[in-house]
């Protein structure tokens, strides 16, 4: 037996072990999922009143009904539009406001306390104010979503500009770089990972903002649908609403995967908290 075959054998064994491990994971995961769903289905009725727990089939039925009546699309479109519009607005505003403040340290130090105060107002508390100001339509939801996004993007963008090593700026300055060249070749590239990371974590936040707005008052949207289900004591409806919202958030996270991929060369960045 020569070295090459030994190596080949080891490699094959390793692959086989990995394969087995993956199969084990897949099976146990599906097993757990199936067991939980089955237990839920069986417990609902004999053990616990379906009113409290609903059941997987009931939720599936509700979802199917929403799909066939078109309700899911109708309400979903408002929530998604508000979330995406708010996301774009909040992110753009966050970057645009942070940009000059990230460059002018002294100015930033002057306004910093106000941003910190505004940041520590729980975003949900602003919901009623926006609704008072802008009525029941789409605008307040977009603005609440934007408010959720703005501060996270703002704080991370400023942090990105501020973590540029001072020495690097001084050195390039001495070597004759103009401010513009510094911005293009040093400041922006080193702030970019922070900005992108903030953009990645804030999309779910925008969704939550839109739903919060719809909870407080609305007559359409998935948040409204969920709350209306609760108001008519339909547990299955609430859970179906939660499920569709989660599915949308998961989809959005999947769509933002490329952003994460674009940052793979970057060490994990200390991103200031996302939303729950």
């Amino acid at each position: 037996m020569n070295g090459a075959t030994v190596l080949e054998n080891t490699r094959r064994e390793h692959r086989a072990a990995q394969h087995a491990h993956r199969r084990f994971l897949l099976l146990t995961r599906f097993g757990i999922l199936a067991a939980v769903l089955a237990a839920w289905e069986l417990a609902s009725g004999p053990l616990i009143r379906p009113f409290f727990l609903s059941s997987p089939t009931e939720i599936a039925e509700t979802l199917a009904e929403w799909v066939t009546t078109g309700e899911l699309w109708y309400h979903g479109q408002f929530t998604v539009t508000a979330a995406v519009a708010g996301y774009l607005l909040g992110a753009a505003a966050g970057v645009l406001v942070a940009w000059p403040l990230g460059l002018l340290r002294l100015a930033y130090r002057i306004v910093e306390p106000y941003f910190l105060v505004a940041y520590s107002v729980p975003a949900v508390a602003m919901g009623p104010v926006f609704i008072l100001w802008f009525g029941l339509g789409m605008t307040p939801k977009i603005l609440i979503a934007a408010y959720f996004v703005f501060f996270i993007v703002f704080i991370n963008t400023v942090a990105g500009f501020h973590q540029v090593p001072r020495g690097l700026l001084d050195t390039t300055r001495v070597l004759g770089a103009s401010r513009r060249a510094q911005l293009r070749t040093i400041m922006l590239p080193s702030a970019l990972p922070f900005i992108l990371a903030a953009l990645r974590i804030t999309l779910p936040a925008a969704m939550i903002g839109a739903v919060t707005g719809e909870f407080i008052s609305a007559n359409r949207g998935l948040g409204y649908l969920t709350r209306a289900s609760a108001a008519s004591y339909s547990t299955a409806g609430v859970l179906a609403g939660v499920l569709s919202l989660s599915a949308i958030v998961l989809l959005m996270n999947l769509m933002l995967r490329p952003l994460r991929h674009a940052l793979r060369w970057q060490q994990e960045i200390d991103v200031k908290e996302g939303s729950s």
Binding site: S120, I216, T226, E273
Partner: protein
């Protein structure tokens, strides 16, 4: 001080020069700090003045109220005892939820992250749960537990739970495996490993996540109060908003922000006492 100046002759002179430079530097710092401070104060006063006198000219004052009225309203609410009542309800809900959520997060993270396999099996479920917009569950909790404090506590606990759990699990799994292996070889027991290696290594992430989650607990409590309640700061704000009483809305928001900032300040203090050597990194 240029290079062309005559060379320093003796040590005493050198020290004098250094002292002078340091004093210059200090003075410059002080002047800059004074400038920043005046700038901040001026800006604050200007904003308040604009809100008081200018904003009403641009938009209907009914929509924006003004600082004097808001402060007056806070005073009224305080004097009537109403504020203390709502405040204590919300703080109790958020505090209970915070403690329950943080403890549950810690315990389950230690239970799960101890075994690599177990963690891998459960990971996709956790990711799934993590991406549920948890505030969407608020109506469900109210359906289940009524209008009292229970659904608010549960909501707050849930928001806290996931953040503490994820950060703790990340902290535990971030312990360098070779460190564990070396200690194992040198005869450390499972308990030694946990107490002397894993816990200290994971501590910064844990403490930082616990610190940032108090805001979440308040958020959870307030949001649930928005959805349905009969008391609490969220109720105060929501009721005022329905009555188009903007001054009370702002008064409520100011109080909520003050609570959050005070709590953050206190927790930050605790954190810096507990872990003076580390600046925590947290993942929301």
């Amino acid at each position: 001080m240029t290079l062309a100046e005559p060379a320093v002759r003796d040590a005493g002179q050198a020290r004098a020069v250094l002292d002078r430079v340091a004093a210059d530097e200090r003075r410059h710092r002080r002047r800059q700090r004074a400038f920043v401070w005046t700038g901040t104060a001026t800006l604050g006063v200007a904003l308040l003045l604009f809100w008081q006198f200018g904003l009403g000219l641009l938009v209907n004052p009914r929509y924006v109220s003004d600082p004097v009225t808001v402060v007056g309203r806070i005073g009224e609410l305080l004097a009537g005892g109403e504020l203390a009542e709502h405040l204590s309800v919300t703080i109790a809900e958020a505090g209970a939820g915070f403690v329950i959520g943080a403890c549950a997060g810690l315990v389950s993270a230690f239970a799960l992250a101890g075994s690599r396999r177990g963690y891998e099996v459960f990971e996709p479920f956790l990711v799934g749960f993590y991406s549920i917009p948890k505030i969407a569950l608020a109506p469900l909790f109210i359906l289940w537990f009524g209008l009292g404090t229970t659904p608010k506590v549960i909501m707050a606990a849930l928001l806290v739970y996931f953040i503490v759990f994820v950060n703790t699990a990340t902290g535990i799994r971030g312990v360098r495996p070779d460190l564990l292996r070396v200690c194992r070889v040198l005869g450390a027991s499972r308990r030694d490993l946990l107490v002397k290696v894993t816990l200290p290594a994971a501590a910064p992430a844990i403490v930082a996540s616990v610190r940032i989650t108090f805001t979440r607990a308040i958020e959870g409590a307030v949001l649930s109060e928005f959805v349905a309640s009969t008391q609490g700061l969220g109720y105060l704000v929501a009721r005022a908003s329905r009555a188009f009483d903007i001054a009370t809305v702002f008064a409520g928001i100011v109080v909520i922000a003050a609570v959050v900032m005070t709590a953050n300040g206190l927790l930050r203090l605790v954190e810096s006492r507990l872990l003076p050597w580390h600046e925590g990194q947290v993942h929301g």
